[in-house]
């Protein structure tokens, strides 16, 4: 089974001139950002600064008013015909989305499925593997996040940290080129944060492109190659952790 190796080499994300407003209120203003394959980028900023919205535009959970986002040169959610962009049919959006995995703040595991079923659901539904192989795949991924013994537990029988690790395994099951984390630890008790961060740290070493929205500045500093600081929908700072934290330009 090829779970990570081939995906590890690619995953270039380009965000160009992305703007977005909700009923007149501008949440993102002309955001430009390039994330290199295998790079780990942490997006920091106060609540309501637009960082989660930016993350969600990357796999088209959120549409944009202007600008575009590509993963490996491929537009997500739109296609270009001449000078204009058109929103893709749902089916095509779904296929392109599988290149980008998402880990949510509230885990969003399917409560009526066991941990292993949660993980195997998408690969089996998309006919990448059959049911038996799906189970194998799920067990392998669970072992990776240190939850081999929880394959048949339902999400509600797991702690928050365990649920988030299952959610990470679920996102990995489609071997995405890019993995997005939307405040992966902010719904967790302080003592459970560590176990989730450990898993993310391991992923960072494997070479998948990671984009992490977080409040954990210490973690961002340690694990990220670059830090993006956003406020009021504007990108204020982009740079290595040392640059951003020790000699900010603003």
């Amino acid at each position: 089974m090829s779970t990570t190796t081939e995906a590890a080499t690619r995953g270039l994300v380009e965000i160009r001139g992305v703007s977005k407003s909700y009923s007149g209120h501008e949440v993102l203003h002309d955001v430009n950002l390039t994330v290199q394959p295998g790079e780990v980028v942490a997006i920091l900023g106060p609540s309501g600064s637009g960082k989660s919205t930016l993350l969600r535009t990357i796999n088209h959970l959120e549409s944009v008013d202007a600008g575009w986002v590509t993963v490996d040169g491929q537009l997500i959610g739109y296609e270009q015909r001449g000078e204009r962009l058109f929103e893709l049919k749902e089916k095509e959006i779904l296929t392109r989305r599988t290149q980008v995995g998402v880990v949510f703040q509230n885990f969003n595991l399917f409560p009526h499925l066991t941990a292993a079923e949660n993980i195997a659901k998408a690969p089996v539904a998309l006919k990448r593997v059959n049911k038996a192989d799906g189970r194998e795949l799920a067990l392998g991924l669970l072992a990776k996040v240190g939850l081999s013994d929880k394959a048949d537990a339902y999400p509600r029988q797991l702690s928050g940290g365990q649920q988030q690790r299952v959610a990470i395994a679920r996102a990995l099951a489609l071997t995405p080129k890019v993995l997005l984390f939307d405040e992966p630890t902010s719904a967790l008790d302080p003592e459970l944060v560590g176990e989730v961060l450990d898993v993310i740290r391991d992923l960072a070493k494997l070479g998948t492109t990671l984009i992490i929205v977080t409040h954990e500045t210490g973690f961002a500093r340690e694990v990220a190659d670059r830090i993006v600081f956003i406020d009021g929908g504007h990108v204020l700072e982009v740079g290595t952790p040392v640059q951003v934290f020790e000699s900010p330009t603003q």
């Binding site: 989305r97 599988t98 980008v100 509230n106 399917f110 066991t114 998408a122």
Partner: protein, 253 residues
């Protein structure tokens, strides 16, 4: 039969109502606007008596009397068919709203997660959303089905031989009014009880994952009770762990 037909149609209606397509949306809205407005009794009578309005139904050339395939309405819509039609359509309109309510009760995050995973639409609806919606749909749904069961007594007006009609026929003949009504009551109670037992197990099935420990089935409860009593006989005076576990495991409001 009308129950399952009704709920099937109701599910389709509810999904149509929640879809983005304005056509599906308005078609399903008009459907249940109409069938919720017409009393069941009137509807059943109209279906049964449709033959007066259109003596023949079939496929043919419009605005002519030529039929490619044609049937006499009277033979096509028998008493039974009229009853099934009326009850199903009536039921569909009500169950559509129950199912829509259930779907709306599923957390938005579930939709986002399944969209982010690129799950095809039918998987999202049938395997992610509906099983979760089922938990809030079921209690109401069983209410409706039981209501429908008793609602069948209405179709006695078109002389269909259902329970209540048969009871009436017999007591008209032998004048044993109260005893025969009691017989009918007992039958209704038995049927409803069977449905209620079914409800318990169906709800229990869909509670998987929602409750940490499923409520014991009556059989399990009885076994546990017997084993507790048995243990008590062995060691009088000490509380047994089986009894304690049963209490501490499940959370009750």
């Amino acid at each position: 039969m009308a129950g399952s037909l009704g709920f099937l149609l109701g599910t389709i209606l509810a999904l149509a109502r929640l879809s983005k397509s304005p056509i599906l949306n308005s078609v399903s809205w008009s459907f249940f606007w109409f069938f919720r407005s017409v009393p069941l009794l009137v509807q059943v009578l109209i279906w049964y008596n449709l033959g007066y309005l259109y003596p023949r139904l079939g496929f043919g050339i419009p605005f002519t009397d030529t039929y490619l395939v044609g049937f006499d309405t009277i033979t096509l819509i028998s008493q039974f068919a009229a009853a099934v039609l009326g009850l199903s359509l009536h039921q569909a309109a009500y169950s559509a709203e129950i199912i829509r309510g259930g779907i709306l009760s599923v957390d938005q995050g579930q939709l986002e997660a399944s969209a982010a995973l690129g799950l095809p639409r039918h998987v999202r609806v049938l395997q992610i959303i509906l099983p979760q919606a089922a938990r809030s749909i079921l209690p109401n749904a069983f209410n409706e089905i039981i209501g429908l069961l008793k609602g069948t007594s209405i179709v006695s007006v078109i002389a269909l031989g259902e329970l209540f009609y048969v009871a009436q026929v017999i007591y008209n003949r032998n004048q044993q009014v109260i005893p025969l009504l009691l017989v009918a009551v007992i039958w209704y109670i038995i049927l409803t009880t069977v449905l209620s037992i079914g409800q318990f197990y169906v709800e229990r099935h869909f509670a998987r994952g929602a409750e940490r420990v499923l409520p014991p089935t009556p059989l399990q409860a009885a076994r546990r009770w017997i084993s507790v009593q048995w243990a008590r006989l062995d060691e009088p005076g000490t509380p047994t762990s089986a009894g304690l576990d049963a209490k501490s495991e499940s959370f009750r409001l």
